[in-house]
Every structure is written in structure tokens, then in C-alpha cells.
């Protein structure tokens, strides 16, 4: 074990880098053996650092960790929707879904080995370059590291079993899907375990002020653990969907047969659908994570949003805007091939204009760093009008609107090849029960939060009692929104389903975007701590609205006549470039957010407890960050392309499983979007 350096008790011993020893050890050996050196007397006073062949250790770990995370996100995110797609195929009897799920899994199997190899490299670089810190960290998390190694076995076994047993278990789909579910359980558990290490470094708990371990459980369940779990889980699915979409786009562009075009067009559509579906709740998972960062450490929160990292959020805003606009653009192009879509074309230009305006607001900074001369010209540090658009309240409002408009584009796409809605009364009792149950569920959520706001003690936000008056408006709006959901239920039951959708959509936009958007500015000046509750109210209204409109839509168009089949495979090349753009934006966004999350610790290994005293412990400039992330993105895309190409080599050697004509299995599902 000498290769990993001395323990903290013998700091005077100088150990030269022993890359040869490190490389000769396996990942498992690292994970299992290093805890033996762990000490639990707190943070050592002197840390040992090594260099990676003269390169900056922090940058080396940054690149390797980000590449590992990206592959891991893909490997953990894709099985979630692969199993869902397989289950849909099994339920509908549509072999197309089954083949799609299988193709997803083929990509997974190819990427898995690379993920593991990158994980090994990450472990070696961490233990090799930061021996003292990793010695400390393993002293805190040794048990969970054993569990991680065991879970990794579980993940590997179930993944390969899931992939290789596809044909063998073709007639026992239930069992095969169960293996897929197991795969997801192992994968998600791996994510949860690794997240605890990362979040402990940001918000340490279960240790004393000097870093000595008090409770391994508390260290594991630290304040940011759950918010990051939710955020990463959703982000992994969105990321996986975007990668799959881009893979399909590249294959579509290179396709040599009509069958390939049809298959990869549909695969690309599914990838986009998955990516955007997971992206819609992501800003709010991010908001929850950010809020918890603030709660755990206002200093870190302020560094994030008001300090060193605030400009990175402008770049983030640009990327998110690009993702939403390219996703909408893809849907609009896809609509053009569907005969019935002409009914909705006139709305596209309005959606585009509003999206662009929202995008502009979304990326407007609160203030610009100006010289004295520029400030004199502008009459102060802030622009008299634009300063309002840069505040959180404005941004919360426009992101809600962007999401709702994207949802609108999807609804238009979904209805494009369908004739008019079927009267709800023809849907049977089951539909009425489901619609009512969903309405009650929405009411419960909205009502619960309304009651929270009605009864909230201002003191919990450090506000004086009279400030309770400011809580009433959002509480009443939530109550009215609940009523609107029941109003929509009533209208739908009276066969006015489309009116119900329009009514609910309009009410939500007015309440969530306009009223609470403007009200947020008043709150910022009068009762600032309450602003976070306003954001939650906005999001709950929007989410419940989307859930309920979707539910109504499913029943309205479930048995609707089709105007014509969707001509899969007839998509212009620019639609596929939109998918590639979406994917690259996602990859850059992932790398950027990884930098922000990890960089927030600034010069601390474990925030506030274990200081990073190495030469590389500085926060890079935006320019430096941009270059490193650019390198990471290119490396990742090159590696993932190579891995997929390898996977395709094997595929080309054996004939593809013949796809039965879809209409032969289930004519009703042929022309519908998933």
C-alpha cells in the first residue's frame, strides 16, 4: 500500500509518485484496501499532493471525472427509458418498440466498459494525486465504498444478462423486463452511493468541526444528497435521450435504405421526446438543489448565484434556451410531414416569437460589469429597464412560459395526424374515474401547498408577523388553480374537453407567469425570503396543469380517427441537425453544471473542513473553464462515437432482427407517436 503514500501520521516521509504501482492495482483493490489506512482523528494538518506528469492535478481530475460522469450518466439514464419502451412494446405487441429498446441496450453495453475504465482511471488519479484527502474520505465512507463495489457487480451482471438474454427470453417478456428493472435498481443505487461522497464534500455533516467522523450515516445522508439524487436522475435520463437522439440522427443521415430511415427517424423522435420530457422538471430540480445549497451554506449559495459563478449561469441560460428552441424546431419540422398538421401551422410563428422573447429575458443578466465611464453614460450601474429582467422573479416566470409553450408544441405534434377529439362521454366509466382521480391528486398537491402558505409563520422566514399578508395571494391563486382543475374536469365530462384544456392552460399562464411573475418583484423588496415559496407555487401550478391537460388529451384523442399515417423516414436533414445540436448543447450543459457544482467548493476539498492547499486550488476564469469544457466535450463525443461505431461493427456482422410490419401487429399504434 505504500504506493498510495504515507498516512497523515507520518507527514515527514516524502513519497515519490508511484504511477507504476497504482496502474498495476485494480479498481477494486483500491476501493477495498485503502480504507485500511483511514484515520478518524479529523482532517490532517498537512496534505500531500502529487503532479500528473507535470500537469495540473486539478485539471487532470476535472477532465477524467467529467468524462466518467458523462459515460455514467448515459449508462444509468438509458436503461430507465429502455425498460419503459420495452414494456410498452410488450403491452402493445408492437415489435418496433422492442427493437428500439434493444438498440438502446446495445449502445449501453458498448458504453459500459468505457464507463468502468474511466471510473478506474478516476480512482487512480484521485488516490494518486490527492493521497491525503482520499485517505480522509475513505475513512468516512469506507463502508459505502464496499457497497459501491458490490453494486457495481450487480450492475454489470444484470446489464449483460439483460442484453444477451434478449432473444432467449423473447417469449418470457415479464422476466426480461424484471431483469431490466433490476438493472435500474442497481444503477440508481450506484448513483445514490456515489452522490453521497460528492455532496459530503459540499455540505459535510456527521463530522466535527475538525472533520473527525461522528456518524457515518449522517455523513452519507448529508443535506445535498437528496436534491442531487433527484437532479442527477432526471438529468441522466435527459442526457441519455439526447445522446440516443443524436446517434439516431447520425445514422439517419448516413442511412442507405428506407427501412433504416424509418427506424432511425422514429428513434430520433423518441430520443428527443425522452430528453425534453426529462428536461421539463429539471429546472425545478435544479431550483430545489440551489435552494438547498443556500440553506446549507448561504456563503456557497451566494458564490453560486451572486459571486464567482454567477456568469456561468448566463452561459447555462443560453444553452437551455438553445435546447428548448431546437427541440421545438424539431417538432415543428416533424409536423410538416404530417398531413393534418397544417391546422396548427399558424400557431408556430407566435410560439417562436414568444419563445425568443422569453429566451432573451432568460439570459438577461441583472447587471453588467461596467467601467465608471460606461456607468455615467447609462446613468448608474443598472439599465433602467433591463435590470428587472435579470432578477430571479422574471426568470422564473419566463422559464415556466418556455416549458408551457414547448408542451404546447408537443400537443400540436401529437394531434397532427388525428381528426377532431372524440366526445369524452364515449370513453367509458374508466376514463371518468381516472380523470377524477388525477383531478383529486392535483387538488391534493395544490391544496396542500396552499394550506402551507395560509398557515406559514413569518418567523420561520425571519419575517415580522405583518408580512404574513404577503403569503395570501399565492395561497389564493393555488386554491383557485385547484378550482380550475375541477372546472376543467367538469367541462371535460360535459364533452368540452378542448375548452377545458384551453381554460386550464390560460389560467395557469396568467397565474403562474404573469401574476406571480410580477408579484415576485414586490416580494423581493418587501419580504425577500418568501420568494422561494413563490417559485414553488409557480412550478406546482405549471406541473399540475401539464399533468391534467395531458390526461385529458390522452382520452380525447385515444380513439380519434387518423387523417393519415405519419410518414416516418421522410424528414429533412435539418431536423437531424437540430437533434445533434440538442445533444451537443446537453453535453456542454452537463459539463458546465458539473464544473459549477464541484467548483462551488472553491479551495476546499470538503467545504469549510478540509482545505485544498495544493497549487492548483484556484477558481479558474470563465475563459479557462470554457477551454477545458470544450476539450472535455470533444473528447467525450469522440469517445462515444468510437464506442458506438465499435458496437455497430458487431451488429453489421449478423443480420438485424427482422421487424415485422407494425400494422400486422397492431394497426392502431402504427401511426401514433409514443
Amino acid at each position: 500500500m505504500a504506493g498510495f503514500g504515507p498516512s497523515a501520521a507520518t507527514p515527514e516521509i516524502t513519497v515519490k509518485p508511484r504511477a507504476d504501482v497504482a496502474i498495476s492495482c485494480g479498481v477494486l483493490l483500491v476501493l477495498l484496501a485503502v480504507p485500511l489506512m483511514a484515520q478518524d482523528g479529523g482532517v490532517p494538518k498537512i496534505s500531500e499532493y502529487r503532479s500528473f506528469f507535470g500537469l495540473d492535478s486539478r485539471v487532470v481530475v476535472w477532465v477524467v471525472a467529467e468524462l466518467h460522469l458523462m459515460f455514467a450518466a448515459f449508462v444509468l439514464g438509458v436503461p430507465i427509458f429502455a425498460v419503459i419502451v420495452e414494456a410498452v412494446g410488450a403491452k402493445t405487441g408492437d415489435l418496433r418498440f422492442d427493437n428500439l429498446a434493444r438498440e438502446f441496450t446495445k449502445l449501453l453495453a458498448a458504453a459500459f466498459a468505457t464507463t468502468a475504465a474511466m471510473g478506474g482511471l478516476l480512482a487512480f488519479t484521485l488516490f494518486g494525486l490527492y493521497p491525503t484527502f482520499m485517505n480522509y474520505l475513505t475513512g468516512i465512507f469506507d463502508r459505502s465504498m464496499y457497497v459501491y463495489a458490490l453494486l457495481f457487480f450487480g450492475e454489470a451482471f444484470t446489464l449483460y444478462f439483460y442484453f444477451y438474454s434478449w432473444d432467449r427470453l423473447m417469449n418470457r417478456k415479464g422476466l426480461h423486463i424484471l431483469i431490466g428493472v433490476l438493472l435500474n435498481l442497481f444503477g440508481t443505487s450506484l448513483l445514490l452511493v456515489a452522490n453521497s461522497w460528492a455532496t459530503f464534500m459540499m455540505t459535510p455533516s456527521g463530522v466535527t468541526e475538525t472533520g473527525a467522523l461522528e456518524s457515518a450515516w449522517e455523513a452519507f445522508f448529508n443535506p445535498l444528497w437528496n436534491p442531487l439524487n433527484i437532479h442527477r436522475l432526471l438529468a441522466n435520463v435527459a442526457f441519455g435521450g439526447a445522446i440516443v437522439g443524436a446517434f439516431a440522427a447520425v445514422k439517419f443521415l448516413a442511412a442507405t435504405s428506407k427501412e433504416e430511415n424509418v427506424h432511425y427517424d422514429w428513434m430520433g423522435y423518441t430520443g428527443n421526446f425522452v430528453a425534453i420530457s426529462a428536461l421539463i422538471p429539471l429546472p425545478f430540480a435544479g431550483y430545489y438543489l440551489g435552494r438547498e445549497v443556500y440553506s446549507a451554506s448561504p456563503v456557497m449559495g451566494n458564490i453560486m448565484m451572486g459571486g464567482t459563478f454567477s456568469w456561468t449561469f448566463i452561459v447555462q441560460a443560453i444553452l437551455i434556451g438553445m435546447i428548448f428552441i431546437s427541440a421545438n424546431y424539431y417538432l415543428w419540422i416533424a409536423m410538416q410531414r404530417i398531413p393534418g398538421a397544417v391546422r396548427y401551422n399558424r400557431y408556430i410563428k407566435y410560439i417562436l416569437v414568444i419563445l425568443v422573447v422569453c429566451f432573451a429575458v432568460w439570459l438577461t443578466p441583472h447587471n453588467l460589469p461596467l467601467s465608471s465611464e460606461e456607468q455615467i453614460v447609462m446613468g448608474g450601474q443598472y439599465h433602467p429597464v433591463l435590470k428587472y429582467l435579470g432578477l430571479m422573479s422574471g426568470k422564473n416566470a419566463v422559464i415556466n412560459l418556455i416549458i408551457m409553450l414547448t408542451f404546447g408544441s408537443f400537443i400540436f405534434y401529437r394531434r397532427s395526424n388525428l381528426a377532431d377529439a372524440v366526445p369524452f362521454s364515449e370513453q367509458g366509466v374508466g376514463a371518468k374515474i381516472i380523470l377524477t382521480v388525477v383531478a383529486v391528486a392535483c387538488l391534493s398537491i395544490l391544496g396542500w401547498y396552499a394550506s402551507v402558505l395560509f398557515t406559514m409563520e413569518p418567523a420561520t422566514l425571519d419575517l415580522t408577523p405583518e408580512k404574513a399578508a404577503y403569503f395570501k395571494l399565492p395561497a389564493w391563486l393555488l386554491t383557485i388553480e385547484s378550482g380550475a382543475i375541477f372546472g376543467a374536469l367538469g367541462l371535460t365530462l360535459k364533452n368540452r374537453g378542448k375548452l377545458a384544456q384551453a381554460f386550464l392552460f390560460s389560467i395557469t399562464v396568467v397565474f403562474s407567469v404573469f401574476i406571480l411573475g410580477v408579484y415576485g418583484y414586490i416580494i423581493m423588496t418587501q419580504a425577500n425570503p418568501f420568494l422561494r415559496n413563490i417559485a414553488v407555487a409557480q412550478w406546482l401550478m405549471m406541473l399540475n396543469c401539464l399533468i391534467y391537460i395531458t390526461t385529458i388529451d390522452v382520452f380525447l384523442f385515444r380513439t380519434a380517427d387518423e387523417i393519415g399515417p405519419i410518414p416516418w423516414g421522410r424528414m429533412p436533414a435539418r431536423s437531424q441537425y437540430a437533434l445533434i445540436l440538442l445533444c451537443v448543447s446537453f453535453v456542454i450543459l452537463m459539463a458546465l453544471m458539473g464544473f459549477i457544482r464541484s467548483g462551488l467548493r472553491e479551495n476546499w476539498h470538503v467545504y469549510g473542513i478540509f482545505q485544498d492547499t495544493s497549487d492548483g486550488a484556484f477558481t479558474p476564469s470563465m475563459a479557462f473553464m470554457g477551454r477545458v469544457i470544450g476539450l472535455i466535450v470533444i473528447l467525450f463525443l469522440a469517445m462515444v462515437s468510437f464506442v458506438f461505431w465499435l458496437a455497430d461493427l458487431a451488429e453489421k456482422q449478423k443480420p438485424m432482427v427482422a421487424e415485422k410490419p407494425v400494422h400486422a401487429m397492431n394497426p392502431k399504434t402504427e401511426t401514433r407517436s409514443p
Binding site: L253, I376, Q381, D462, V633
Partner: protein
Amino acid sequence: MKKLSVKIVVFVLMAISLIAMIFGAKVLLLPWIVWFSVLSLAAWILVKNLRSVSIVLVLVGGFIYISEVLTMISGEGGASGFAAEGVNPEAGEAIFWGKGKCHTCHSIGSRGSAIRAPNLGDSQFGPIIGLRAMDRARQREAAGVPLKTATDYLIEAVTEPGAFVVEGFKNEMPYVYLPPIALRPDEIKAVISYMQSLGGEVDVDGIRLPDKILKTVQAPQRELKGDPQAGKILFETGLQCIRCHKIGDRGGEGGVGPDLTEIGAVRTVDYIEESILDPNAIIVSGFEWTSLRLQNGEQLSGTIIATDEEKLTLNLDQDLREEDWGWDDEEEGAGASQVRIVAIRNLVAQPISSMQDLRTQGYLWIETVLNDRTSVSGIIAEEDESSLTIRSGDQLVKIAKNQITGMKGRQIEVSSKMPMYDDVITLRQFEDLVTYLASLRGATSE
């Protein structure tokens, strides 16, 4: 074949321009983003079967470029000007807007954009903080808390922020003396002196921090091997440092060197070592010694007590104090024989050869001749690599450096009066001295 070669060349050049951007290569006639954009367009038109790759490269290139633009407009990595040190409003200002991270919650008037905590300038929360502090102290006294002065309130606000929270805000200000901010006591004092300077009177001596803050300062980051007793003897009798430096109520006659009573609590071991080996490395504000020549040919030397954009206050050297130099400059009443205020405009201007880092070179006031033969003179308000902003009267004038044909400036070079000891003491004595100084944590004399 020829067409294929062109495609390959275009694509390879596009990739090279991106790599040049990633690794920050030197500009080749035009910025790399221009090359990259042109080559991207050419690649898109010519190499149709690699358009997917073109999209990837264009997005990555755009991302890198936007990151660089944001670095430029946000001023990251730009010239930082003077590195303020010591307990004074200038150092406090630097900490407030930097290491202390105060600006991420507080704005001061129109400076800064944070709204998470009260604006400390003239605002809806009251007058500027130096004035507001007195009202707050009265408010706190009325509430039964014995805060007598504005400084008392500022100390409480910075060191015990939860004691009084302005209405409408959460009790969430961190203890700035604890990690992750972990300001040293002298840094906290500097911030408080900066607050005092905002509308109030600066009284550094009146800032007495609670004991708990001195006690929370972390022990030295490395083990010290010297003998503190031997170090003490060396300090007091061997090298006679005590003559210039005060410890507790002993020594330091004449205020020649900084008070070292709390040095072990407020400074790192590295700082102490550096100060012994190279006293000029960092000179504590108020102990910067300078020698000046005035336009009337006269020479004077002394310690700079205070500076602003137009004048500097000098504590004249002992041997010069008795002489009558007959300055035109203003004299301070009570200390007229020791303290002199010198207008910067009266200093001799020297030709400036290097236009870079003028403020770091010690130039405060400059006179420039531009290529259209006009002249601009005044205080340097801002400086970056390519331009200078000069405060001339009430106006700010921004000048591109490449427009300047000639430049003169008034320079103030500072140094420490402390002699060099690196070749006087042995390594053992050096370790003893460092260990002794690192052990001084606010204790008074025995």
C-alpha cells in the same frame, strides 16, 4: 481528387483553429474565432457528409468564445491594481469586494448588485453605513444592549450578525471568522474600518474584537521547531526588535514598526517568515516609508500615514522633523512638526517608459500627450491592458494606450524601514524567532 484535398484541408484547418482556441494559442493576424467562423462556414458548404461534425465543432467553438468574452467583460483576471494590506479602509474595501465575499449579499449604494442583505449605502434602509451605524447603536442601546458607539455596532454586526437582523431579511449572515470565509482578525478589523470610512470617521484603534475571535484562529498550518523562549530573548535583546515593535504595553517607541501583540493570531507562519527575510515583500499600511522630491527641488522622507487621490500624509523621519523646510503644503495643526500633507501635484514628474501596470509601479498622477497632440492629465482611475481611465477634474477620460505618444507621471515608491536580517541570524535563531512570534496571540506583557 483535388476537390477531396480541398475538403480535407478545410476541415483540418477548422479543427486546428478550434484546437488553437482551446489551448489559447497566440493570435494569427486575426483572432482565432474569426478563422474558426470562416473555416466552419467553408466546411459546412464544402464537406457535406461531415456536417454533423461541423455542428459539434461550431457549438464547442462558440461556447469557448462566449466564455472568453464573458471573462473580458466581467473583468476576471484583469489588472488588480494595488494589493491592499494591513488594517485600513483600503484593505477593508479589497476584502469586502473580494475574499470576504461581503459583496455577494450587500451592495453599497449603486455599487454592486446584491440584494440578499441590506444595502449599506444611502438607501431605503437608512443613510450610508458609517452614519447609519450610530443610529443602530442607539437603537440597540434602547433595546438594552450596551452599544455606545457606531464602531461598537459595526463590530457586533460583523462578528455577531444574528444579534440584530434588519427587518425583512433572514438571519443567515455567516460568521466571517470561521470557515469557509475564515477572515483573520486583522482582515475583519480592516472591513470594519472600511465601513467606518463610508460616511463615518475611521478609528482603527477603537476596533477591539471579542476574545472569541482571536481564540478561533487556527493553529499554524505546520509544526514549528524553534524554541519560543530563545526567540523572545533574541527579539528583545539580541536583535532589539522591541525597540521598533510593540508587544503588549512594551516597546515600540515612536511607532516605527507595527504592533506585534497579536501577530501569531492574525498572520500565517509563512507571512512572518517572509517579513523577517524580506521586509519589503509586504509592507503594512501606515508603515510604508518613502522618499520624495518636490518640484521646488526639496527632498523629504518619512512614513506614509494616509493617501488619497490628491494628497498624501507623511510622518517625517525623526532627523528631518526639526528642520524648517518651508513647504507650501498644508501643515497639520497639532502634529505640525511631524506630520506633513503633500499635494501629489507638487511632486516631480518623471518620464514613464513602460505603459503597463502603472499603478503597480507606484504612479498615481500622470500627464499624457496623445497622437493628436492634445494632453490629458489627472489621477489614474482605472487601467487595463489596452486603456487608461484618467480622472481629470470631475470628468473621467478613457484613453487607448496606443494613442499615447508621451507620458510623465508622479511616482511614489515605498519600502520598509526594517533592516534585512537574512545574513545576520543563523537558521536556528530564525526558527526560534518565528516560533516566538507565531506564539503571540494577544497576550499582554508578562
